[in-house]
Amino acid sequence: MSATPEESPGREEKPFLWVTRPLATAAKQFVKSLWRPSTVVYPFERLEDPKFRGEVAVASGKPIGVGEIWDNYRGVHALNINTCISCNLCAFSCPDVCIEMVTVPGGDPKHPKKCPQIDYGKCSFCGFCSDACPEGCLSMTTRYELSVHKREEMVYSPARMFEVYKSKLPMNPIRVERPANEDQILLDPPICIGCNACSRDCPTQCITMLDIAKPTAKPGEKLPKRIWKEPVINDSDCVRCGTCISVCPKDCLFWGTRQ
């Protein structure tokens, strides 16, 4: 058995079972909480309701923030379908792979409109998707009650998240600013075939195909078979979603910094 230090700080020589101080402390709290204990009786009183927080604050003297602490809360997502540009960034940024882009009415047949559908059975409410959303159409609200009877009901379709949006709940205002010298999408011109895939699929329509001069073929040299156009990217409109990179058949677009 280990050595037992006899002297312990904070211990004074008191008769066995000297317990008046804790009894007094408990009694003090008893008197204090007679009028209104700190409990917020959840289904009837709500934490986000300033009234009850105020009551608790007054009754117990606690410095409880009223209302404003809910501003950044990360709850159920609200999606504004009208402004969604189908950029896929939310789905790409999701660490739990719970966001699936599903077709919603409103797009043209060649270029269907896709909006996120979130499986809350997998979602970890990290907020990366709403941070990533360039248009601010996917936000997190203060709604936190998610219990349902079936697993299928945990999947929120875009229409359902649009209803959340329309219910005008307070929404998380945080928008993460992009780094100042962010990577841009650059082109490797010799590889490009001018196929227009990037321009067609760009959600913000910031890629325009510009004609380039067709070089004159030197004798004995065969010109590459391609369309003589090249994408030009408007950086100020680009949301850095990388759709063009994923659709490029020749891998001629890449991330980089313009020197």
Partner: protein, 376 residues
């Protein structure tokens, strides 16, 4: 109101019921039904039923009371949704437990396993037949009521140990052994404290003990005995800080780990029954029972059933004291508990017996002065 007793109420009820019933039958049965023997027998049954109902209701109310009180000590609310202020919560809990399956572990001994909760419960209930609630409101006045009540009260460790051993679980076994050791150790100071009261009152009859307190309550001369008795009762009731047998941090649920459903409810109810008995004993022995001091205005003591009301108020206040202790003290260890029992409580109890004897011999009290009728 003093001539109304619980038994007279039961007898009246019985004769009315039987009288009504007798009209339905022809003469021989009619005559037999209204005969004294049958009426008395039914009166006894009704008497027991009323006692059972009252004690059970009080126990359940006690649980509610503890939950609410403990909640306020802890800055929360306690039960509040079922019924007014959660009054029906315990009935809901009981219903839930009643619907649950009672599972006996395969290796557990069936007889001991089933017997011990029942016996524990029954022995706790029997005491209620002996305790006087108010003048006439008791099961009968025996000369040795107090002794009998204490003897039945001390049956509990036997059944706890039986149940613990029978459930064939290591936690239960340790809990059962602790329980037995603890209860046996604290019988001694409790009995010594009671001896002090008996010395002062000169009788073992609880009715007489209460009546002896008409001039002064015994807590004043016997303050030491009161402290010893309260501490011992805490240990006997297995409440914090002496709830080692069911110390849930190390022993899961102690000796009732293996019990579930209604059997667990039996243990739980019996625990609170014992708590109620303990509080009632404190009131009877030290706080003047159903009497109030003479300087209290007569209006407060003369309304119907005033004795019972004041008795219950006192009982619940005493139980509130136990709850207060529970809210502010941690649990102590077995060896410390036994050390406290044998080395502090027994000497204190002996000292209080001595004090009681001195008070009786000198016919005088420290603060109140000399009273001629003192000492039985």
């Amino acid at each position: 109101m003093s001539n109304v007793s619980l038994y007279s109420v039961a007898y009246t009820l019985s004769s009315v019921l039987l009288g009504a019933l007798a009209h339905l039958f022809p003469a021989p049965i009619h005559g037999w039904l209204i005969s004294g023997t049958v009426v008395t027998a039914l009166a006894a049954v009704i008497f027991a039923a009323i006692l059972l109902l009252a004690s059970m209701l009080n126990t359940i109310l006690l649980i509610w009371y503890e939950r609410k009180l403990l909640g306020r000590f802890m800055d929360r609310r306690g039960a509040m949704h079922v019924g007014y202020a959660g009054l029906l919560q315990n009935f809901a809990d009981g219903l839930k437990l009643f619907r649950k399956d009672t599972v006996r572990p395969g290796q557990a001994d069936p007889l001991g396993f089933w017997l011990s909760p029942t016996a524990y419960m029954v022995t706790s209930l029997v005491i209620f037949g002996l305790l006087p609630i108010s003048t006439g409101w008791n099961g009968g006045s025996l000369p040795l009521t107090l002794l009998l009540a204490l003897v039945i009260f001390s049956f509990a460790p036997l059944f706890i140990f039986l149940g613990a051993w029978a459930s064939n679980n290591k936690y239960s076994l340790i809990g059962g052994m602790r329980s037995a050791a603890q209860m046996i150790a604290y019988e001694v100071p409790i009995l010594l404290a009671v001896v002090a009261v008996v010395v002062l009152a000169g009788t073992f009859d609880l009715n007489t003990i209460v009546l002896e307190q008409r001039n002064y309550w015994f807590w004043a001369p016997l303050f030491l005995a009161l402290i010893v008795f309260l501490t011992g009762m805490l240990a006997e009731m297995e409440r914090i800080p002496f709830d080692l047998p069911e110390a849930e941090a190390e022993l899961v649920e102690g000796w009732n780990t293996e019990y579930g459903g209604m059997l667990f409810a039996f243990f739980m109810l019996a625990d609170y029954l014992r708590a109620l008995v303990g509080s009632i004993l404190v009131v009877l022995l030290f706080l003047g029972g159903w009497t109030l001091p003479s300087y209290v205005p007569a209006a407060l003591t003369s309304f119907p059933l005033a004795g019972i009301v004041w008795f219950m108020v006192k009982t619940y206040l005493v139980f509130g004291l136990f709850v207060w202790v529970r809210a502010s003290l941690p649990r102590i260890r077995t060896d410390q508990l036994l050390r406290l029992g044998w080395m502090r409580m027994v000497p204190l109890a002996l000292l209080s017996v001595l004090l009681a004897a001195l008070v009786v011999l000198s016919h005088c009290l420290p603060l109140i002065g000399c009273v001629p009728s003192m000492g039985g």
